[in-house]
Each structure stands twice: as C-alpha cells, then as structure tokens.
C-alpha cells in the first residue's frame, strides 16, 4: 500500500473573515470553524461554548488544561477521508494522496475530568519538553453544559477537535504542497522477494484502552473491544487511529502523535536499506487480566506468524500498562523475535525509585523517554489560554503547585507529550 503525503508548510495563523491557506499563512474565520464543529449532535448537546485563540512559538503563552492535539489534513486522492469511522465514513485509508498542514495543530482545551489534562507552554523551560510549543496552534477552548456526564462530554470534545481539524484540513485541498513524500510497504511475499536479505521488522503499537476516559479508537472502534491485529503503517499515518485519552499528559499519545508516529517514520527511513518494514501490529492495554493475557498472546502469535526477526514495542501510559509492555516483550522474545521497547519512567522526584511497575530480564533493550516525576518550575506566562484552575489537581501537580505569581512547580507529568513513549522526543534518563 502506497501513500503520498503532500506537506504544506504553515508558518503563521491569522484570524480573518475568510478561510484560506495562502503563502504559508492560515487565514481562519473562527465563526465558520465553530459552525462546522457545531453541526454534530453531541457537540450541540454537551458543549456549551467553544472559543478560539491562537498560540505561536516563542510567545509568553500557557495553554491548559489541554485535551488533544490534532494535525489538520485532507484526503485529496484515493479511498477514504480523514478520521475514518469517526468523521469520514469507514473506508480503508493509507493509500492515495493526503495533504498535511505541517507546522500547525488544532489544540482542544478545557476541563474534562480535572486531573488528567496537560499544559503546553509556548516559551520558557516548559516549551523545551513539549513538541507542541514549536507549532502554530489554533486552540479551541470548550465549556460543558451544566450537569453533563463526563463520558458524554469527553466524546463531544473529542469529536469537536476532529471536526475543527477536518474543516481546517480541507483548506489545503487545492494548495500545491511544498514537499511530497511517498511511503510504501509490501505484501508478505512481495516484501521477501524485494528485500531477501534484510531483517523483517514490525512495530508493535500498544494503544491505551483502560476505560471510557482512557481510550483510543481505531477506525472508530474502541480499542478495548479489539483483538490484536495488523495495520499497514500508512493507515496510521492517514488518521486511522485517534486519541480519546484523558490520562497523565506526559505520556499519552495525542491524535497528532498517531498521525506523526515517529516509530513509523524512522522505520520507513530504514525501509529497504537496513530492514524490511513489514507492518504495524496494534494491541490494547485493558484492565482485565484475561484481556492482557489474550492480547499479548496474540501479539506474540502474530510476530511468529509473520516470520519477523525483530520488533519495536511502544507503550502508552504507565502503571498497569507496564505489565502489558512486559508481557508483550517477554512473549515475543520467547517466540525468538528480538525486541526493543520504548517506555518512560516513574523513578520518584529524587530519581531513586524503581522506574517501572513490572520487569523482566528478557526486556534487555529499552529506550526511555525520561523520568516523569522530575520536578520542573514553569515561570508565569503573560497570557493563559484556558484556565489555571486545575493546575493543583492534574496528574503531576500537588496542592500549591500553582504559586501566587502564576508560576507552577510540578512534575514533568503535567506537560503534554513530555515523556512520550513512541520516542517522539529527545528527552531520556540514565
């Protein structure tokens, strides 16, 4: 399956009374985006208000509480559309051509559960830790209608964000991309014939699926109701997987992370040179032990069935998902398939604790995204998009995290994407 991505560089966003992309600038009419977002019944029913703001790299701006980050894209050739099974109808994506508004994102903000939303600082020390400080962000701050059930509200804000991204992505349909890249993996036999001497490598992509507010959706299906299965890597790149997660901000995979999965990108870079990139294996992280056992059995079984030589396993979240990670790794290694895993650490504020909840000697090749408990001080920002009301209670914060001068003392956990377990960042620990 072959996918072409046409990248349109977005260097600036400006509010305007029309909507267009011109010379690297996105001109956007907030009312038009809002009207499109509100065409959805759930949004109408549960989202009281949606306000827009713009945050640019280097500005003295803090966005919080952040729910999701989404890259606007549009399908210009081939089957399917953006976010199949959620926004577009269910069609297999991952082939044809998709235009990407690169350098920007839609950020959804506002309280969902109060303790699992994150912070994005556009400048200062916090900006070093989040990849989203480098983007031009169109921020949509949502407020719930009174008395709404938080599960309904999460769904409504999730859809609102995806709809905003779809609307903005559409503006890139007829723009000539600054750069076009193509990505292709092959059928099993075809791949072996093409690269007979290269090691067969796949990506075991673990999806957070612990509960209604800790979920990931694949073609619109709640991942906790799925069995471990196979995707073409280009399907992931084309919006097949979206985030519905309100988990600790530092190591949750936003929709942007799924669209720009760095493991997929870096395996493609070596594809046909040092390895044969066979496919992605997606597996969940459920709360029932039987599910953990079944899903990890299936990961290992598929690795064997595909005659793989090696896999990269990435995790999402921490705590009991550490067990899913270790189960996957152990069982895959026992099938004779070599593993390298990507995780992050909870080693305590002093760094002296054991970093993972589970361990096994077979997990002998580990890449870490850093210690999420490390304490950081974020200086006050001139402008806050959203509200600072939840800083003390979000995961990684504590009573008194928010100081009088507007500065924040908290663990890295609070920063969206800081210790990402797909290996999105350079942060590490020893």
């Amino acid at each position: 399956m072959k996918l072409e991505l046409g990248f349109i560089e977005i260097k600036d966003i400006q509010f305007s009374n029309e909507c267009k992309v011109e010379n690297g600038t996105l001109f956007v009419d907030a009312e038009a985006v809002k009207a499109f977002v509100y065409e959805d019944d759930d949004v109408k029913a549960y989202v009281k208000s949606a306000c827009f703001d713009i945050a640019k790299p280097g500005e003295s701006v803090r966005i919080t509480p952040v729910k999701d980050v989404i890259e606007p894209r549009v399908k210009v050739e081939g089957p399917g559309g953006q976010f199949p099974g959620v926004i577009a109808k269910v069609d297999t994506v991952g082939s044809g051509r998709t235009h990407v508004l690169r350098g920007m994102a839609i950020v959804t903000a506002g309280k969902i559960v109060g303790f699992q939303e994150g912070i994005i600082d556009m400048s200062g020390p916090g900006a070093e830790y989040t990849p989203f400080s480098k983007l031009n962000n169109l921020v949509m701050v949502c407020e719930p209608v009174e008395g709404v059930h938080q599960h309904d509200y999460e769904r409504a804000v999730r859809i609102a964000g995806l709809r905003a991204a779809t609307f903005v992505g559409e503006l890139g349909r007829n723009v000539t991309p600054d750069e076009v890249q193509s990505f292709e993996t092959y059928g099993i036999k075809e791949g072996i014939e093409k690269f007979p001497t290269l090691p067969r490598v796949a990506y075991v992509h673990m999806l957070q699926s612990q509960g209604l507010l800790h979920d990931t959706y694949v073609y619109g299906v709640d991942a906790k109701r799925t069995l471990t299965t196979i995707l073409y890597p280009t399907e992931t790149m084309d919006g097949a997987i979206i985030s519905g997660n309100c988990v600790s901000a530092c190591d949750k995979n936003t929709t942007y992370h799924h669209q720009n999965n760095p493991v997929v990108a870096d395996l493609f870079e070596q594809h046909g040179k040092t390895l044969n990139y066979v496919c992605n294996i997606i597996t969940n992280e459920n709360v029932y032990l039987a599910d953990k056992q079944r899903s990890s059995d299936w990961s290992a079984k598929l690795c064997r069935l595909l005659d793989l030589d090696g896999v990269i396993v990435s995790q999402e979240g921490f705590g009991n998902p550490d067990t899913d990670l270790i189960m996957n790794t152990k069982k895959i290694e026992q099938m004779g398939v070599k593993t390298t895993i990507i995780t992050d650490e909870y080693a305590g504020q002093d760094g002296k604790s054991q970093s993972l909840a589970d361990a096994d000697p077979l997990a002998d090749a580990v890449v870490t995204g850093g210690n999420a408990n490390e304490v950081i001080v974020l200086p006050p920002m001139e402008k806050v998009i959203g509200t600072l009301n939840y800083v003390d209670v979000i995961a990684g914060g504590h009573a008194g995290s928010l100081r009088e001068d507007g500065s924040i003392e908290a663990e890295l956990q609070v920063i969206t994407g800081a210790t990402n377990e797909m290996g999105f960042n350079r942060l590490s620990a020893r």
């Binding site: 303790f115 699992q116 938080q150 599960h151 090691p199 490598v201 612990q210 209604l212 507010l213 800790h214 760095p262 493991v263 990108a265 870096d266 395996l267 870079e269 070596q270 390895l275 709360v287 030589d309 090696g310 990269i312 705590g319 070599k338 909870y346 080693a347 305590g348 504020q349 002093d350 760094g351 002296k352 604790s353 054991q354 970093s355 993972l356 361990a359 096994d360 000697p361 997990a363 090749a365 580990v366 890449v367 870490t368 995204g369 210690n371 999420a372 209670v393 995961a395 504590h398 009573a399 956990q413 990402n420 377990e421 797909m422 960042n425 350079r426 942060l427 590490s428 620990a429 020893r430």
Partner: protein, 347 residues
C-alpha cells in the same frame, strides 16, 4: 584562589614499589605525587592537590580500621574541597581501598569525593554510594582517565548540578537523571534494534531491576478472634479528599476512621486516584474497599473485628520508594493497634 584537593594513591603509583612494598603504612606527603600531576594539569590552576595520602594496598586491606582512622584524621585537618582517590583501573585491592576510603571521607567528614576504576573492579560495588568514573582496565588508560576524573571533580567542587551518568561520565548510581539525547527516542530504538538483530553490542537505557522478597508470615489461626484491617492503593478517601492526596505521584498517605460505618457510599467516599476511570469507584467505593462485606462478616462472627482505621494511598505514578515508606510507617501503626492481618486492595 583555587580549590584544594587531597589525593589518595597506593604504593605502586607513589613509585615505592610493587607487590613487595604493598605492606607500607599510610603516609602523608605535601603536594602532588605521581598521577596527581595529570590532575593538576587538567585543572589549569582552578584546583590543586595540596596533599597526597600514600598507602600500601595490603596494609589497607589488613589494617582497614587503623588506616582509615589515620587517613580520616589527616583529611579532617586539611579540610579540602574534594577528596579524590585513584584511578585504580582493575587493581582489586587498590580499587577497594579507593572506594572504601572515599566513602568514609564522604560519610564521616561530609567532604565531596570522587574515584575512578574499571567497571569490574570489586571497589565498584560502592558505585551507588560514591561517584566513580569508569576507566580502562590497566594503567595504560591513565591518559584518558585523568582528564575525565579531573573534569567531573571540578564540576563537583564548583557545586554545579550533576547531569545524567552518561553525560557527566560516572558509573550509573541508581539515581535516574533526565537529559536530552542527540536523537529522538524512536530513532534510538531503531538503531538499538538493528544492533540487536546484527548481534552487535547495544546499551539499554534502563537495565531491568531485580526484586527482593520477604518470606510469608504464618497464617491467621482463628479468624473469629482476629482484627483485620483494610488498606488500599486505590485512593479511596472521604468525600472531598480532605487531605488533598494527589491524583498521581502522591506525597502522603491517608488514615481514616470507619468506626461505625456499615458501608461506603457515594455521599461519603470517593477515589483520589488519577490512573483509572474513577466513575465506578466514586459511585460505590465498596468496589475498591469492601467495608460492606467485612461488616457482615464481623456481625456473623466470621472475623473478630474490622479495624477502625483504614489506610489509603494512590498507587498511580507514586514512586516505589515513597509507597514503601508509607506502608512501612502505617504497618507499625497496625502492629501497635494489635491488627492480626491485612487485606490490601489495588486498582
């Protein structure tokens, strides 16, 4: 003014002799001796060795207590900014002496210390207690080892923040420190996998820990006479979380009375835990802390008594060391209260 350093070396590096002179007792000389020159050169006047302790390796091993007392007395008197020992490369007794004396200087005099040796040197067993710079396995590695040790030594003397072990070149000491790598994680993972597939050496960024075990205690003989306590890591707290237990990475535990409480309910209890979907526990906290069932057993006489207090923590993102400290602390309270057994629930 430059920083003042005391250096420790053995008889061999002091040019007294080899194995045949390993019995010599500790001796204090002014200024640098032997390898100390290389340190002084690296420091370019910012720091200087003011005195050198020379001690025979066998002497230190056989008269450890006396030798240590003597050396500590000298170092105390000199009160340097740093005590540096070795490098000992793969010399076993020398490495042991360097690590042991450095640890004693740090612990007893509160002076900053540094040593260097080969990773398999038995002295490296103390790497979690003192900073040790890894070196080659023979003195041929001096040219590299001396500047490496000198660099870290200067950083310590200046009181600069210590970076990660791979950045500041010391043996991993059990303290995890964040830093920015040159390449992103996914790229490092691909490289690591390619090396693993090609049977080439690779270095894991997080070596798997080993776990200690505690033997099980004897069973409860007669449940009908036993006081049983409920504890949880599921963050069950009185409604409103009065002690502000954090949703993740908790800094304290909760101790709450359930005396006279027949069952937990939505109006009285909830969870502070941030790691799982809280809806079910908030609606009915007995799903995490089974007070209702325990009360029935108590009425039936199946158990003697449900302990009046329960202990609660948030497991989510809470460092193992903190969790251990909390439990060790409340275990003593449970013991004193005469509790015979504990049911611990986790989410």
């Amino acid at each position: 003014m430059s920083y003042r350093v005391v250096h420790y070396i053995n008889q061999f590096f002091a040019n007294i002799g080899g194995e045949e002179m390993a019995h010599v007792a500790p001796e204090l000389r002014e200024g640098f001796v032997g390898p100390g020159l290389a340190f002084n050169q690296s420091w370019k006047g910012e720091a200087e060795i003011v005195a050198t302790v020379v001690c025979g390796d066998s002497h230190f091993a056989e008269h450890e207590k006396e030798a240590q007392e003597q050396i500590l007395a000298w170092v105390k008197e000199l009160n340097p900014d740093l005590f540096i020992a070795g490098p000992a490369f793969n010399a076993g007794r020398y490495g042991y002496a360097c690590a042991t004396i450095a640890n004693a200087v740090k612990e007893q005099l509160g002076i900053k210390v540094l040593t260097g040796m080969y990773e398999e040197n038995p002295g490296a067993d103390l790497k979690d207690k003192i900073l040790i710079v890894p070196t080659a396995n023979s003195a041929a590695g001096m040219r590299k080892a001396a500047p490496a040790m000198a660099k870290l030594a200067l950083k310590l003397m200046k009181g600069e923040k210590l970076g990660a072990s791979c950045e500041d070149n010391y043996m991993p000491n059990g303290i995890r420190v964040n830093f920015f790598e040159k390449e992103r994680g996914s790229k490092r993972a691909v490289k690591m996998l390619l090396n693993k597939l090609a049977d080439k050496p690779f270095v894991t960024e997080y070596p798997m820990p080993s776990f200690d075990r505690v033997a099980p205690n004897p069973a409860v003989k007669d449940l009908s006479k036993a006081t049983i306590a409920l504890c949880t890591s599921g963050g069950i707290v009185p409604k409103g979380n009065p002690d502000h237990i954090e949703s993740s990475s908790a800094s304290h535990y909760g101790e709450y009375s359930i005396a006279g409480v027949e069952a937990l309910c939505e109006a009285t209890h909830e969870t502070a835990h941030g790691g799982y979907d809280p809806v079910y526990a908030n609606a009915d906290a007995n799903r995490v802390l089974p007070v209702d069932v325990m009360r029935e057993f108590e009425r039936e006489g199946k158990i003697g008594k449900l302990h009046d207090l329960f202990y609660t923590t948030v497991g989510n993102g809470t460092a193992v060391a903190s969790a251990k400290k909390f439990a060790a602390e409340y275990a003593q309270k449970l013991l004193q209260a005469g509790v015979n057994a504990v049911i611990m629930t986790s989410t």
